[in-house]
Symmetry: D2
Subunit: 342 residues, 4 copies
Amino acid sequence: MPHKIAILGASGYTGAELVRLISVHPTFRIVALTGDRKAGQPMSSVYPHLRHMELPDLIKIDDLDYGQVDLVFCALPHATSQAVIPSIPDHVKIVDLSADFRLRDPAAYEKWYGKPHSAVEMQKHAVYGLTEFYREEIKAARFVAGTGCNAATGQFALRPLIESGVIDLDDIVMDLKAAVSGAGRSLKEHLLLAEIDDNVKPYSLGGTHRHLGEFDQEFSRIAGRDVKVQLSPHLLPATRGIVMTCYLKGDPETVHAALTKAYANEVFLKVLPIGETPQMKDVRASNFCHIGVAGDRLPGRVTVIAVLDNLTKGSSGQAIQNANLMLGEAETAGLMAAPVYP
Amino acid sequence: MPHKIAILGASGYTGAELVRLISVHPTFRIVALTGDRKAGQPMSSVYPHLRHMELPDLIKIDDLDYGQVDLVFCALPHATSQAVIPSIPDHVKIVDLSADFRLRDPAAYEKWYGKPHSAVEMQKHAVYGLTEFYREEIKAARFVAGTGCNAATGQFALRPLIESGVIDLDDIVMDLKAAVSGAGRSLKEHLLLAEIDDNVKPYSLGGTHRHLGEFDQEFSRIAGRDVKVQLSPHLLPATRGIVMTCYLKGDPETVHAALTKAYANEVFLKVLPIGETPQMKDVRASNFCHIGVAGDRLPGRVTVIAVLDNLTKGSSGQAIQNANLMLGEAETAGLMAAPVYP
Amino acid sequence: MPHKIAILGASGYTGAELVRLISVHPTFRIVALTGDRKAGQPMSSVYPHLRHMELPDLIKIDDLDYGQVDLVFCALPHATSQAVIPSIPDHVKIVDLSADFRLRDPAAYEKWYGKPHSAVEMQKHAVYGLTEFYREEIKAARFVAGTGCNAATGQFALRPLIESGVIDLDDIVMDLKAAVSGAGRSLKEHLLLAEIDDNVKPYSLGGTHRHLGEFDQEFSRIAGRDVKVQLSPHLLPATRGIVMTCYLKGDPETVHAALTKAYANEVFLKVLPIGETPQMKDVRASNFCHIGVAGDRLPGRVTVIAVLDNLTKGSSGQAIQNANLMLGEAETAGLMAAPVYP
Amino acid sequence: MPHKIAILGASGYTGAELVRLISVHPTFRIVALTGDRKAGQPMSSVYPHLRHMELPDLIKIDDLDYGQVDLVFCALPHATSQAVIPSIPDHVKIVDLSADFRLRDPAAYEKWYGKPHSAVEMQKHAVYGLTEFYREEIKAARFVAGTGCNAATGQFALRPLIESGVIDLDDIVMDLKAAVSGAGRSLKEHLLLAEIDDNVKPYSLGGTHRHLGEFDQEFSRIAGRDVKVQLSPHLLPATRGIVMTCYLKGDPETVHAALTKAYANEVFLKVLPIGETPQMKDVRASNFCHIGVAGDRLPGRVTVIAVLDNLTKGSSGQAIQNANLMLGEAETAGLMAAPVYP
């Protein structure tokens, strides 16, 4: 029996990516799409690439009849999400793709997002949506908060290393390279092709990127002590993809072994043979994450590089992976399509 | 029962695209991959984006055991194809993706490709693989010759117009814009990113592009008289996609009606409402073709624009669509994934 | 003695391009830069690539002291230009880069721009800034109206052919391919890298592109009769450049000879040997225009392709070329830098 | 009196860039261009963007008449350079752009380049061409060896910090992002647009990149002790430019002050106000290098980012800067053109 799915905020990139992935999902059926500014329009006038699909027209959130819905993907902008989610009826399961419920600690939320959370009670119940590490909680959850796309990439690279204690926790450097779609379909000057083509633009330097809140929360939890990484993000002249290059102190073979062991049974997380390097495009438009480990001429130094597609494994693919678990489907349902290369 | 599939020439882009599409095909199973220069290597060292799949290693064509094969996709380079195909055992069905068997007339082949065909007998039996127009022949065929990617785009735009006689057959101008993957994974200077990025490069002007042979053959056949179009190709700073802008003499409403009627029941060919314009990226990595019609301030002028992905609908997707028919599967099996946007 | 130059609207792309070109101009000195929304800021915070130059801070137009100015480049948005230019004191020469004064006929302006012109008197005095064809008028002018970038490209391809009567005036088809910087530094969704990368987007089909007003005006004037071309514009995944592919009825040799003769003494307009094709990137960031001519297998058909950089030869380079003439400098002063390739 | 210039290996990207820069140089005149494989061709058939220049045809090196030459730029491939340079007559000054003479120590050369140097005597006489740090030696030199483009970027970021002792010399991490033109006009699969567009490809990880030889040589010399940095290079989907992100242990204010002081009088090296970040495109096609410094939430951590254009400041622009000094010209002659943005 198909699961009835609604997408809130379907007019953004993560909304469109959800529709794309669901187009070949065996048991998910889209019953409602909301987009307040575009309400009344067919989805195909907002995203003509979906022209071939039979989709409901966009409606306002207030006009959504939750009676017919099993699960909502909430792809609303940050801050809007926390205003909407508390009013969703209890019988509806929720996968949130915004940043609103990723941090468990209200004080941490306020620190990174600059204002108090308006739905602190809900915040407590949200399960952190990094599937491979919260699988059992997610299966049992009504409400899952998807991770940041950069935060997911960095955690796939580092969690097993922090957990197994094979790297120096006080000296973790992460050089982030991120494609523009991570910023959404938003009208900002630096996202224009004329500005970012043939360019690389560092941003949010100095420990100010919001995904640091997630790293702090998760890495400290695993380590049982404070862990604070150093992160420098760079915007790329590319549409999809994230490369996280991690500079670590540790033994390369040990690091590689820890990752290989941790992900031995993971379908989507692929650790390359030591010395092989992943490239960003090798996971494009897919739910896979490739991770490479390289030693250095300097003993005790190791570089770990993780790549994934910010819109798929970093966001909408992860959301479907979680929804699969919440609805009793195979975790990989609808997610096994190979990357698009070239 | 799954169909056992072999891909000859799996190390090129169309080979990799076949594997990608088959990764989610319900009944196709890859049993052999050949690549003479890469024989002995795993497919994942040639295409690391396929790392997650369990695929046979690349072998030499001569080492292929056809006993276990139901159908081969032949993605060999032009000219190699005609050397290999005649020796394939009779029980094996064949979908050729090369240019070798697209032209029925040996003289036409020699004119456009500069040397005599070496398998003239096979050439006679090949069915032209433009699915939507050769559906019944393809269902019954053992051997189907896939079309040129540009040739497919132009035919989707024009066949119904030529057939219904609603345009001037003596004044057809086609401005072709084609992404670089149409040239394959070949080491040519003009395909380097440094050369073609931020660039547009006209090529094969003056009626010299080989796909004109296909237009001549097909358009003249439909019209029952000689039809010769004018074609100017331009190489784009893009990886996937074709835009064919056709300048025609005819009535826009009539032209639009002819296309709409012809494709009313076609799943993959989408005629836009009159005045709407298709964009290349709206069909990326998919088997869909979008077609737009626009009138002009000049009476009697009409512009028809067709877009598709050269590697999917223009080549490997078309091949699978044909194989579906040849093997008794639903024509759309494995091909309904939505385009990748953005 | 240096000429004192002011740039109105210096915060747009054509403004920045003027500054770039003037950075190596032998006799032009920038004395004022205006940008109403950015007034008070240094130019280097709007365009950090100009960080090394000593430039005046941006000011409001109303704060500009024309007493110190010999010539203004007016790079204001369309419609703003006609509000500002009439109040510039008589001693100041003016080169306008907006669309406001390109059309001589107030009715034509109203037709293409959708509202009456507010400075009809000025409109009469403006000299059309296509340097190679209005050289003497420009030398004597106080006020020159720069052409549209696409309009310039098409005219370089076609004026000598219309003038010499070697092509069919009733059947001119122009396929325009234009990079995104032609749309300026404006926040529009279709200009985002995520939208236009790996894409081609047709727009303003059906005879609606405003530069048709310029073609109508200029081609009809030369021909001494109405000439109306057919034009289909396509937006490219590229930052700088225009390719205008013109499909004409005429004899290729005659067409080539007409262009070669017309531009024999032109420094910036280069006609290629017949059969050679220009590529867009070969003129990037320069004031050169390359023009190629190709015959066809169909007798009597000829394709003419012109390429230039919309920001340089199509706009700011043209403006400086005109200012050179107006100020008694060598026409090529500051404009001989070679294109940037790759 | 103009200086007579020959370019050996003019058919590569650095050769073409030299010609582009010399096109507006006040006193350099090109008298010979060599290109062994293209000998006999006009430069404009190898690089049509130079079509407007009057240039000598390409000749074989053996046919070069050094009698008429004041200075040669040697833009030959690595290894070829050391075979050719020893035979150049003594009266000719030489700026080498290859990697052959960058390392002073024959053992270091053999280690990084895999074979013994064939011109060890010449190697001893070569002056290292990092202009801002070897200015006096270069003025007096007959033979200058240009630096690696990545090596130049890293040294501009770090030399003053190593010299002044304000960073931990045992913990220098450099994340390199480099555009494809750094690899030259070479036919390699990973340089195809279809491969590298929408991609980032890490390469030469683990301390194997050859420019490390230069860092070792120069940093150890300055420090008076062994200094070995950690470097991870990443290939970008971009044509021109380098971003070197350096992760250092030190005090941000002190680091910023050291750079600001060191470059206070440098025309081409621009240190941004603390906290501002340079972007790659802001120096495109120019001889400028922008350097930014950012602190971190972690005390004692500092990130220094340097950007330059690999073909200009990283190679051909540097070469001209050095040639200017060697020939008694102003160091900035021909090099003050503003970057091309957008």
